[in-house]
């Protein structure tokens, strides 16, 4: 058993060696906002924040998460108030199918934390998540909008 802190709540979970954090979040804690997309760290749909840094949870062993603070898409809100990135996402009408958007939003939150006013080049470098619907221009616009808040 290990203890992981997700969105400020500690959870005792059983996770064998090598089990990625993603599946603990999705199948053990039943928090399904964090998505499985590729399982090999390539698409970014599973992105969560670990101690504030964007991390692809499909390739992060849950055992390494013990004692760290994990933030998932469900934990971005403060009470009922959306995070400014989520709000910007709605205003830009960024999602299409929406499946990649939890990961996109988490990556954007991590980017804005380090670069509050990112340039387009910095957005290109940080936002490597796949959006199969091709909502990239709306996502870019949303990041710029969130940076202004």
């Amino acid at each position: 058993m290990i203890t992981i802190n997700v969105n400020g709540t500690p959870h005792q979970v059983e996770a064998e060696d090598g089990m990625p954090l993603l599946w603990v979040i999705r199948d053990v804690l039943n928090m399904t906002g964090t998505k499985y997309g590729c399982g090999v760290g390539s698409c970014g749909a599973c992105t969560v924040l670990i101690d504030g840094a964007a991390t692809r949870s499909c390739s992060f062993p849950a055992a390494l998460a013990a004692g760290k603070n994990i933030t998932t898409i469900e934990g971005l809100k403060t009470g009922d108030t959306l995070h400014k990135v989520q709000q910007a996402w709605i205003e830009a009408q960024a999602p299409q199918c929406g499946f990649c958007q939890s990961g996109q939003i988490m990556a954007a939150v991590a980017l804005l934390k380090e670069k509050p006013q990112p340039t387009d080049a910095e957005i290109d470098a940080a936002m490597t998540n796949i959006c199969r619907c091709g909502a990239y221009s709306q996502i870019r616009a949303a990041i710029h909008a969130a940076a202004k808040v």
Partner: protein
Amino acid sequence: MARGWFITLPLAAALAASTSLTNAAPPESPSAAAFREVAKVLNHPRCMNCHTTVNWPTQGETRQRHTFNVMRGPDGGGPPGMRCTTCHQDKNQDAMNIPGTKNWHMAPMTMGWTGLSPNQLCKALLDPAKNGGKTGEKVIEHLRSDPFVLWAWAPGGKRKPPEMAHAAFVAAADTWIKKGADCPQ
């Protein structure tokens, strides 16, 4: 600072000057010959993929550009928001075929080796401006015990380690430095 370091440099230079005057290539010094063995390892994809001279790492045995626009970033650890550690964790993740060891990052651009000949590589390794300010001994130390170097011999998944065993590699590097830090021509 290792004393041997500064002593050997003029010798190497003298040797280089003298060989350039002769037609037949003289036999290579044991030091230089040892470096050729070292260079084979350094030219291995496990080393070269992160010792690049471009703004991105390469990957795989073919040293193709790292997929999905992965960049070096300001400190070699990836750009803000997309750090190397976004995917590369403290150990190899074989189920996902993602290599890992603590603090995964690229070597600085100044330590880039892409396209260097054994001679250039040798000189780069001896140049404190291109080796992270290391003395010869420190270079050996890096090759002997740096977690990244050691990772190359346990790279996980289907990744191939260098053909030469790590101990033999360190021994060759040791010979190279101790016998004069000569650079092959």
